[in-house]
Subunit: 432 residues, 2 copies
């Protein structure tokens, strides 16, 4: 085999919760051994797993990668002011190549934080796809359709063209890394005819629908005033959830919305940092999980987070639910880990290939180093992963058996060049 993690602590996210002193083998991009130590096992490279923790590679199910170019710009503003007076004008100045530049910086950050796959909603998908492809990571990419009139024709819009580009150039490739998602920006930024058109595209190609939903109370209440139904109910009425779907934010979901999510198997993607930072609220994640809804985690974009570190955000996700539920037993460490592993893979339709450490699956793995004063004696591996570790503790990130990041080194990205280009782009955008 190509590589063997030896004598390592593993949280495989299926079967036993924790394997200690285990061996995990990787061959030809797949996991070829999970189990005890066996002297007969040999590999081209053996990694000593003492004081290391092996997890399935992490999923970041809602982000806007090119927004790393606006990280730290226009902080501490009200959402409408922030979006329309600061962010949108800068986005309007995005030049050819800038989406690639921003996406590459975000992908680098995510690799250093253990991410093997992300779901992105932005424009200039060609650039994002090129960055993800080059870096060796998995990605589900959509351009979230916005329609400013009821007569808007999706199939003549840039959002459709870009989606078609990903479909034609990446989606059906054998390695399956880069996929197109169908995208609707949000209920309040589009209309029924266009929703049906995006659903049509998703049905034709078996795509996953990606949408912002009930992020703010204002948006939620405005929808009820306009349609007499919640955003989830409204979109459901147009068949948006008849295809596999992921909905970002879900802060203001009502009980009937949660019923729709369960019945239609919609994934709720929780973005706790962004939701607090923009004072949108704290999503009812514990209730969603108890109702049987698949919940994944997103960092949102670097302009509203301002980091892309799922483990850091997972700690907040867990402790925020404890406070929201008035119950410190809510969303315990092991359950929380599902959000960034199995549930994330399911959100992206990758549940048969990834998200667990199991025989025959893609070798999408992250290895954490617990040999630091930050972890002391790492009494409980799941608690270490969720409450003490962040991306800082990531030693190695591997996607499909290929090491993309190890001990501070990027194997597929010229990081100095990427940072130089990012700085130049930010200057060109006139915000530095």
């Amino acid at each position: 085999m190509d590589l063997l993690f030896k004598d390592i602590t593993v949280i495989p996210m299926e079967g036993e919760r924790v394997l200690r002193g285990a061996c995990v083998g990787v061959d030809a991009g797949k996991i070829c051994h999970v189990g005890g130590n066996d002297p007969k096992l040999s590999a081209d490279r053996v990694i000593d797993g003492s004081d290391k923790l092996l997890l399935p590679g992490l999923y970041n199910c809602h982000t806007h990668t090119p927004m790393s170019l606006m990280r730290g710009y226009a902080s501490d503003l009200k959402l409408q002011d922030w979006l329309f007076n600061y962010i949108s004008p800068v986005e309007g100045r995005f030049a050819e190549g800038m989406a690639y530049t921003g996406a590459l910086i975000s992908v680098a950050e995510m690799l250093s934080n253990g991410v093997v796959s992300f779901s992105d909603m932005y424009f200039m998908l060609e650039g994002i796809a090129a960055a993800a492809d080059e870096a060796g990571v998995k990605a589900n990419l959509c351009n979230g359709m916005t329609a400013f009139s009821p007569e808007f024709d999706y199939f003549k819009d840039r959002s459709y063209m870009e989606t078609a580009y990903i479909l034609n150039n990446y989606h059906h490739r054998a390695d399956g890394r880069i996929k197109a998602d169908a995208g609707i920006h949000a209920e309040f930024t589009s209309f029924g005819r266009a929703w049906r058109q995006v659903v049509e595209l998703a049905e034709e190609h078996g795509l996953i629908m990606h949408i912002h939903l009930s992020e703010t109370l204002l948006e939620h209440e405005n929808c009820k005033a306009k349609y007499g139904t919640t955003p989830a109910q409204t979109l459901n009425g147009y068949g948006v959830f008849d295809v596999r779907a992921i909905a970002a934010h879900c802060v203001w979901l009502e009980d009937s919305d949660i019923d729709i999510f369960r019945e239609k198997s919609v994934t709720a993607v929780h973005n706790p940092v962004s939701n607090l930072k923009l004072s949108s609220g704290a999503a009812p994640i514990e209730r969603l999980i108890k109702a049987g809804v698949n919940v994944a985690l997103g960092t949102d974009g670097a302009a509203s987070n301002n980091s892309l570190d799922p483990l850091a955000d997972l700690k907040l996700a867990s402790i925020l639910q404890k406070c929201r539920a008035g119950d410190p037993t809510a969303l315990p460490a092991y359950e929380a880990l599902k959000l960034v592993t199995v549930n994330g893979a399911a959100a992206q339709g990758r549940e048969k290939e990834s998200g667990r450490i199991a025989l025959g699956l893609d070798a999408d793995l992250v290895m954490l180093d617990l040999h630091s004063p930050r972890q002391t004696a790492a009494i409980d591996p799941a608690a270490s992963a969720v409450y003490s570790c962040t991306g800082r503790d990531v030693e190695l990130t591997m996607c499909q058996g290929r090491i993309l990041y190890e001990k501070g080194e990027y194997k597929t990205i010229d990081i100095e060049k990427a940072m130089f280009e990012a700085k130049r782009a930010v200057k060109k955008l006139g915000i530095l």
Copy 2:
């Protein structure tokens, strides 16, 4: 001069918010230059400050350092169950030397996270003082008195003896690094007579009072049922706030409590991670600040956080207030930075020696490295520090002009030995 930070971005926390391309000089433990570049400046060592950010060294104003030995133990439990059935029994098994071992690990973690001073409440203060002293960091140490009967005599108790030990052996030393605080564990764990005795000690020696206050609603309401007054009112009636005081948590403060804090100049120490994790609630920090109360930040102990990373927690402090206040402009980045710098120094009575980057003050400094994909172009230094940086980005921590941590290396701690001893202690405690 001994050392010169050259061409560096500085947030001095007084005067101009940000200095760019500045020079900061250090000589004989003090800051001897703050200003523009001057070709005449020379030093034994010059640090190139390009892509670096210099801040006053960070203050962690509420922690329990030996509890790193219980990090990750007994997660996801209700507070009473956690404390009385898990934590207290283990604390009862603490053997000679274990407080030192746990404190040293915590101090190491804090140094790597840019902390130059901490306020600790625990027992076995001799060990904690030895660890802090050896590591070269500043610390205010107290043993929080608990009294299980109204007749309890503080001056015959271990909590007094340990405080006296710190007073006699460290408090008046010329370098002023290790100070004794007077400590009352909390209103609900003691009685009026003992409160007056601790106040007496504080008055005699000019000590700062350190107390847990209104952490949980239960504790707050029980006090009102017992005394007819809130914990702050009750303690105030016994003169507890007639001496300089810091109160940890303050989640359930009422308006009249906030009035007491302002009138008596009590510092509120916010512990956002611990408060969420134990589902205590979200403290009214924005209201306290607007009322003119000094607010500092604490990580609390590693058993209820489970990290000691003030910058990471500061991000949560800021975004939690934005959500609590329903206003994303609440606790903006620069205001947030005060909690871990100037306000922290004031909480410890060190405002004339530290907490700002100014001529003649102790060279207590932290330098962050912004040359990473996590910071892209670092558009706004305060936003970078609060929203993107964590301890991970700390390159150098200096206390009184002495470099204690640089680029992953501990200059005063044998980190491998410290981790080995910590692991052994955790095993002896029977929880690993």
